[in-house]
Amino acid sequence: MLSVGNQNEGETLILMKQKAEVLQGTLALMVLKTLDVLGPLHGYGIARRIEQISGDLLAVNQGTLYPVLLKLEQEGAIASEWGASENNRRARFYRLTREGRKQLEAETKDWEQTQAIIGRFFEVKAEDLS
């Protein structure tokens, strides 16, 4: 009996993990796009911007943004340096690197292709296939 429960728990964990990974990937793309459009921004600025556009994706747990930023920085897609925020306090500003721009372009292209293919599938009607 107990073991069945454990198993379910495990599955849920795995699902959660997968979902988180998808979220992280999406989030990374959003960060890149945001920095591309708005130029250098600090963490809070990026969070605000994503919140405005995506609605509730980042409404809670804005903190999850920081591990994503770190990963992108380690990969060389973005760079960061200290700067002054609007209220003249020290803040960490992130900007897109050339590497990041390339990555964004590639991902955009991928996304558009995927979108086009999926779109065509949705448009297909039964009689088209006969």
């Binding site: 605000r48 903190g63 770190l70």
Partner: protein, 900 residues
């Protein structure tokens, strides 16, 4: 690319941990501050504004954890953490740590020390570039798999094979009369004759000057050039580069020094490092068989052949090619090549040849040493197990607050790894000591001034083995305790430091350890005792000849460029004049002294016994041969069992005669009298030799070799150049040295005397001290194993006592007598000892068979060995169990009941 960059960034993250942590903290603070301001602007009261901001940010700690995981490399960070923790916790029990490290150091050290032996004798590659494709070519006959080739055969093989980038030949000239100045008395140095392409094919560049040119090997006697060995150059010429072009005298002939071999190339052999390299074309100057023409006779087989396999050629192809060539030899030269094949061997195959005893010693010792390491590991495992028990509560707490079991096992294994690596470090030191000990035996192993060295060292391969052994022992002694202690029952573990679930399962492992220890050390003791007894027995058995009052020395008139007639004259006059000296009882000349320097000192004779039904697959037999004079049997006091010994009437012109040993006579004429029978030399149509006597079989090569066939023939009938002289004196043999020198001087002022010593000294070194090294080594391992086993058993019984202190207290309080307690506590230990002894006996029998099959061939079971070893083992182990049991019986009940 991306992944790689990230990996380096993370690696960097390990180092900049502190700064990054600060940065994150600051970023979070700033984020929340900005959000709070935003909320304030939206009209929230300050406290609520901050609360909302924090809610929106989410769990800070969880995020930090994610951040950290992404920043560094958690595996490495965990490991470093484990490392720090382990060092701290080992520091808390310095006594235990030191004991464990020493135990492991002993085990690992003995193992790696003996491995240095196996390494030198089996694994160390030739000191040349690309040693892997250097192979050895050997001739095969029906009774030898490792025969040499003649010069003619070498030329054919060199020119007609296609599998090799060059075939080289060499022959060891153990004694070269060397003098740097023309008129000085020659001193003996070790040399080697090599083919002209020797250094080129091996890829050895001389350190100074040049090596031989191929054409320096074409014309017999033309190119008197010599290349010096690196050590010799250093010793004899003080590394003087001006030595090039100098003239030195070798065996009375002038040679020009053309080069010096590099330091990295001590030679191709394990022990023998040549001082001088001469081209084969100069063979007439050196000790080749005077009966034969080195350059023409196809059966003057004195050359060892090596070759470098071409890239893309397999051993099998080369093998087939050579086999075909050998068949051609058989067809073309049936007289000298009949029944001879050829084979190609790798270095490994050559080093582990079945007729060599040295590497077998190495392997046996390594097996024994591994058993010592096993005992050491089981000992340490037992200790760690006890330690883990004492930490039950700590481990239970860790498990309770959510530490993973795997993570805990890793922590515990890190601890044993540290112990094992420290042990490995100590082991390297102990191993170094063992190799130094081997080096110190140099003079015993090599009694001559030959350029030989014991090549056992702690090189990279041995150190790697040391490291591997450390890891192995870390797992061997750490895994079981780690597995067992993390399987704690949480509830009980938290309640008390000392838990034992009901049932005996927990103790099973520890008991098995003690049994393993006792049995392994019994096996070790048996092995060392058997070896000791084996050598002892061969000494008691006796050698069959007299050893006292004998002075031995050797001559080689070829060193003085004597011709055959001069040599004959020298060996005729020398004994004659010596016999007239006062104090001399008898004198003998012999090709090889008993227990000669090595088996190659003895000659070999190919023969056909007359009237003997030859087996179908062979047309001749061969036997060891010793060329002696008529004084031999008397001087060595070897009894003639039947017939007669040699007489002065057996002159060069008289019919050829031989004296065979008893083994030989029984071998070929089991049911009739060998005396009066004839053998024919070389083939059924060869020269006839009459057997005139049968001598008692004695030990010829070493004291533990099984008896072999041996034929004695007469020096005057078969002249030889290099002979040993044995003088039997009425008084101290050393007093004969001066009279002997005087006599030799009357014959030739410059004639060198080689290896002059009393035979008794020689015998002591060869038969007593040499084997003594082996026994010493084996018994020190046996004793090490026993000590470890005693410590292990003592530990287990003590541990049991401490675990049952309260129970024993209650028993005593209820009226148990101290003898009852002793019986109770010891009972378990005795059962373990008995089981271990049983298993150890079985293992002992196995080792005995191994030793018998490899070394002594004593046959049967040595009951005495077991009768000594088993009771003494039982005695000490019982004592080891009794001491703590006795202490347990003195436990005061009042104290025991309060004990926790």
């Amino acid at each position: 690319m991306k992944t790689l960059r990230r990996f380096f960034a993370r690696l960097g993250g390990l180092a900049t941990k502190q700064a990054q942590e600060e940065r994150l903290k600051e970023e979070i603070a700033e984020h929340i501050a900005l959000q709070t301001e935003e909320n304030l602007r939206a009209g929230l009261p300050p406290v609520e504004a901050r609360r909302q901001a924090m809610l929106k940010f989410g769990g800070v700690e969880a995020m930090k954890q994610d951040y950290r995981a992404a920043r560094g490399l958690p595996m490495i960070e965990d490991f470093l953490q484990d490392l720090r923790f382990s060092i701290r916790s080992l520091n808390r029990t310095p006594g235990l740590t030191a004991f464990v490290v020493m135990t492991l150091a002993l085990g690992i050290g003995i193992t790696s020390g003996t491995f240095s032996m196996v390494d030198a004798m089996i694994f160390r590659p030739y000191p040349v570039p690309h040693p892997g494709n250097v192979v050895t070519l050997v001739g095969t006959t029906h009774d030898s798999g490792f025969d040499d080739f003649s010069y003619r055969e070498y030329l054919d093989i060199r020119d007609k094979t296609k599998s090799y980038d060059g075939v080289i030949a060499n022959t060891t000239i153990e004694e070269v009369g060397f003098s740097a100045e023309p008129n000085a008395t020659p001193r003996i140095r070790g040399g080697m004759m090599v083919s002209g392409n020797y250094f080129r094919v091996l890829g050895v560049e001389p350190r100074l000057g040049r090596s031989f040119r191929d054409d320096e090997d074409q014309v017999p006697g033309r190119d008197a050039v010599v290349v010096l060995g690196p050590d010799f150059w250093r010793r004899e010429f003080a590394s003087d580069p001006g030595v090039l072009g100098r003239t030195v005298r070798l065996n009375g002939k002038n040679f020009t020094v053309i080069g010096v071999a590099p330091e990295t190339f001590p030679g191709m052999m394990i022990f023998y490092h040549p001082d001088l390299y001469m081209p084969l074309a100069m063979a007439s100057v050196f000790s080749t068989d005077p009966q034969k023409n080195f350059f023409e006779d196809r059966d003057d087989r004195e050359l060892a052949l090596r070759a470098r396999l071409k890239a893309g050629t397999t051993l099998r192809l080369a093998q087939n090619e050579l086999a075909v060539l050998a068949q051609n030899f058989e067809r073309e030269y049936p007289k000298v090549s009949h029944g001879r094949g050829a084979a190609v061997h790798t270095q490994f195959q050559m080093r582990t040849r079945s007729d060599d005893v040295n590497w077998k010693f190495g392997v046996i010792f390594n097996v024994l040493a591994l058993s010592v390491l096993l005992v050491a590991c089981t000992n340490v495992a037992g200790l760690l197990l006890s330690r883990a028990r004492a930490r039950t509560r700590e481990i239970a707490v860790r498990l309770a607050i959510g530490s993973g079991r795997f993570r805990l096992i890793r922590l515990l294994l890190t601890e044993s790894l540290i112990l094992a690596l420290l042990g490995g470090l100590g082991g390297a030191a102990v191993g170094y000591g063992v190799t130094m000990w081997f080096q110190s035996k140099q003079n015993i192993v090599f009694m001559t001034d030959l350029p030989a060295a014991i090549p056992f060292q702690m090189n990279t391969r041995v150190l790697m083995a040391c490291l591997a052994l450390s890891f192995l022992s870390a797992f061997a002694c750490g895994l079981a305790p780690a597995l067992q202690s993390t399987r704690t029952d949480l509830l009980n573990g938290l309640k008390s430091a000392e838990v034992d679930r009901p049932g005996r399962k927990r103790l099973w492992g520890r008991n098995a350890l003690v049994v393993a220890q006792v049995s392994t050390s019994l096996m070790l003791l048996t092995a060392s005792f058997l070896m000791f007894r084996g050598f002892q027995r061969t000494l008691i058995e006796g050698t069959g000849f007299a050893k006292d009052h004998l002075l031995m020395t050797s001559f080689d008139p070829r060193l003085m460029q004597y011709n055959a007639a001069q040599t004959k004259q020298f060996y005729k006059l020398l004994p004659e004049r010596l016999r007239q000296a006062s104090g001399v009882e008898s004198v003998a000349l012999m090709q090889s002294v008993p227990l000669g320097l090595d088996e190659f000192d003895l000659g070999n004779v190919t023969f056909v016994p007359e009237g003997f039904q030859m087996p179908r697959d062979s047309e001749t037999f061969s036997s060891a041969l010793n060329m002696v004079d008529e004084g031999y049997f008397e001087t060595m006091k070897i009894p003639i069992l039947h017939g007669r010994g040699f007489r002065e009437s057996d002159t060069a012109d008289a019919p050829l005669v031989a004296v065979v040993n008893e083994h030989f006579a029984r071998h070929y004429w089991p049911n009739s009298d060998a005396v009066g029978k004839h053998i024919r030399l070389d083939s059924a149509a060869g020269t006839q030799v009459e057997i005139v006597g049968i001598s008692q079989s004695v030990k010829y090569v070493n004291t533990f070799a099984p008896p072999t066939d041996l034929v004695h023939m007469l020096l005057v009938q078969h002249p030889m150049a290099r002979m040993a002289l044995m003088v039997r004196s009425s008084g101290d043999p050393l007093e004969m040295v001066q009279p002997l020198k005087d006599v030799v001087r009357t014959l030739d002022v410059n004639m060198p005397m080689l290896h002059t010593m009393t035979y008794e000294d020689y015998y002591l070194n060869k038969a007593v001290k040499g084997p003594g090294i082996a026994t010493e080594l084996a018994s020190s391992m046996g004793i090490a194993g026993l000590l470890l086993a005693i410590a292990g058993l003592y530990g287990v019984v003590t541990f049991n006592v401490s675990r049952r202190t309260r129970e024993i207290g209650i028993r005593i309080a209820l009226g148990a007598k101290s003898s009852d307690v002793v019986r109770l506590v010891m009972g378990k230990g005795l059962v373990l000892v008995a089981t271990g002894t049983g298993i150890g006996l079985a293992m002992g029998f196995g080792v005995e068979r191994l030793i018998n099959s490899m070394l002594f061939n004593a046959g049967g079971v040595d009951v005495v060995a077991y009768a000594v070893v088993v009771p003494s083992l039982l005695l000490v182990t019982i004592l080891a169990a009794y001491v703590p049991a006795r202490r347990a019986s003195r436990i005061a009940p009042t104290q025991a009941l309060r004990y926790e």
